[in-house]
Amino acid sequence: MKPVIELEDVRRYYTMGEIIVKALDGVTLTISRGDFVSITGPSGSGKSTLMNLIGCLDTPTDGYIHIDGEMTLGMDEKDLAYVRNQKVGFVFQQFNLLAKMSALDNVATPLLYTGVPYRERREIAMSALKKVGLADRMKHRPNELSGGQKQRVAIARSLVNNPSILLADEPTGALDTHTGAQILELFEELHSEGRTVVLVTHDTDIARHAKRQIHVRDGRIGEAG
């Protein structure tokens, strides 16, 4: 089976004045469909850069990236937006819900960009919210939800377009241990249903939940576990 994520000698350099910062310096990595992978590393290791590249928020300076068959090298912002919408489900540490909208509208937003009609959007969003156990919180706004509930809404939102990868950036970072554990359980459940989960964290305890652990240091990767 073709891997869902493929990186081939990927480099990402930034120029800061006269200095070239090599955030990623030759990363080759494949993640197969249905895998549960963690990416760890200290701050400044290139972990975030790797995540942004996998999430198609950024393109590499050199090297090839394939996300579920789409090669992102040389893509413009419009094509990248399409890949993000179709192939990637983002879950953030700070939830990043849109404050003025209900849980249901938040979850339905990616479908809006896909061009799904209103009724269908609502139905899909409703079933996604049911799946994360928030069927009774659909009309609530983010400020009326607890941290754990917000993260569940965010996970529901990441699922609506049935993406190839779930990309979670420190998803438990803003939650207490107990709630964090529940969220991790939810990810494990999603993984067991066959979804590809990429968990980015600095916490090795959390990383241990993953089946495969990738460690980033100084712009290069190594494997552990």
């Binding site: 942004n52 999430g55 928020l57 950024d58 912002e77 419009k78 937006a81 399409y82 993000r84 919408n85 179709q86 983002f90 953030f92 990043n96 819900l97 849109l98 003025k100 937003t109 990616p110 809006l112 960009y113 896909t114 061009g115 939102r157 377009n161």
Partner: protein, 393 residues
């Protein structure tokens, strides 16, 4: 997508009502003043035209130009020539006028003394209040009789009847005239100042008063049911071909009404154009508030981009927001403009004439202002780097 954008825009507006209102003020005032000017301009035109129409559209007056060499053509026979050559003319009355001092004992008044034919009053529906208007015989025998306009009569004979008394008219030398009638009041008809005139028989005027070499003016009564404007045009055409365009001036209430319409129209368009400049200022206010809005919502833009919003979609969202904002301003402006018009029209007693086309124009134009001034902020939003926007606090 459009509906969602409008929905989002309305939400954003409601979320900060005071700020929205303040930033809209420029547009509201701009649209309001344009609407008020156009509405009042049109109402003024209607009122002026109505006044003219009420004064009677059926008369046309021709004034020969004294300095033109062709002025000799305008003799007494010309009345018949005109009647023969132009359709729909009922009567042509020759009139000679000049201003003179009129005196009775110690009272004196400056009046227009007009030499007119005996049918003058009847032709112009000018009613006699007291006595009898002079007759054909009076005219043919050049009797020294006078008929007073209501104002002149009131001035010279404040406490008694003027009929049967004598007045002196000074023109080089004083001559005495017997007052045989006083006329009813009649509204001035732009070219005919009825009430401040003293009327004497046409022949008396030419024989005894001053001897003109040509007729001072011709008052034409248009046939009943004929279009005064068309007759006026025909008279002009005829005169142009016979005596030339420079030899006369023509006045008709109908053409005056047309002129008034065109003047107020031009004036109100001009004023509206000036008021439209304030829309430009309002647009800059919108641009400012949209830039603030984009900056405040950088994080939201980042999230939307991460969820798959393309630059075009983000641009659409913010342009729609600007358009909804300015359209709201436009609608409020229409309400403001109509209210102002209503108050002013009531104060000056004009009949309010509301132009619905100007509403459409105002709504359309304010939306356009939104597109124009929302474009740059929206473009800025669409070009934000998704990573930087997501990490923006």
């Amino acid at each position: 997508m459009i509906w969602e954008n409008i929905h989002l825009a309305l939400k954003a507006m409601v979320a900060s009502k005071m700020r929205t209102l303040l930033s809209l003020l420029g547009i509201v005032i701009g649209v309001g003043s344009v609407i008020a000017i156009l509405t009042l301009g049109q109402s003024a035109t209607k009122s002026i035209t109505q006044t003219i129409v009420e004064g009677g559209l059926e008369t046309i007056t021709i004034f020969p130009d004294r300095s033109d060499p062709k002025v000799g053509e305008f003799d007494e026979e010309f009345t018949d020539v005109l009647k023969k050559n132009v359709d729909d003319i009922e009567t042509v009355l020759p009139v000679n006028s000049s201003s003179a001092l009129v005196r009775v004992e110690q009272e004196s008044s400056n009046a227009t003394v007009s030499g007119v034919v005996s049918s003058y009053a009847a032709v112009l529906d000018y009613e006699v209040a007291e006595g009898e208007f002079f007759t054909l015989a009076d005219n043919l025998s050049s009797r020294q009789v006078a008929v007073l306009g209501s104002e002149v009569a009131a001035e010279l004979f404040p406490n008694q009847s003027a009929v049967g008394r004598y007045i002196s008219i000074f023109r080089n030398q004083a001559k005495s005239y017997l007052v045989i009638a006083v006329m009813e009041e009649k509204d001035a008809n732009f070219n005919l100042q009825y009430n401040a005139s003293v009327y004497i028989p046409y022949n008396t005027y030419t024989d005894r008063f001053v001897k003109p070499t040509f007729v001072g003016s011709y008052v034409i009564r248009v046939a009943d049911g004929a279009d005064a404007l068309a007759v006026s045009d025909n008279v002009s055409t005829y005169l142009d071909s016979t005596v030339g365009t420079d030899a006369y001036r023509i006045f008709s209430p109908a053409s005056l009404a047309e002129m008034a319409t065109s003047i107020t129209g031009t004036l109100s368009s001009f004023l509206a154009a000036i008021a439209a400049i304030s829309l430009l200022v309002g647009g800059i206010g919108i641009m400012n508030i949209m830039l603030v809005s984009v900056a405040e919502r950088t994080k939201e833009i980042g999230v939307r981009k991460a969820l798959g919003a393309s630059p075009r979609v983000i641009m659409g969202q913010f342009i729609t927001e600007a358009m909804v904002l300015t359209l709201t301003g436009g609608l409020l402006g229409i309400v403001l403009g109509v209210s102002i018009s209503y108050i002013v029209a009531r104060a000056v007693e004009w009949q309010l004439f509301i132009s619905y086309t100007s509403f459409l124009l105002a709504a359309g134009f304010s939306t356009l202002v939104g597109v124009f001034f929302g474009w740059y902020p929206a473009y800025k939003a669409s070009k934000l780097d998704p990573i930087e926007a997501l990490n923006y606090e």
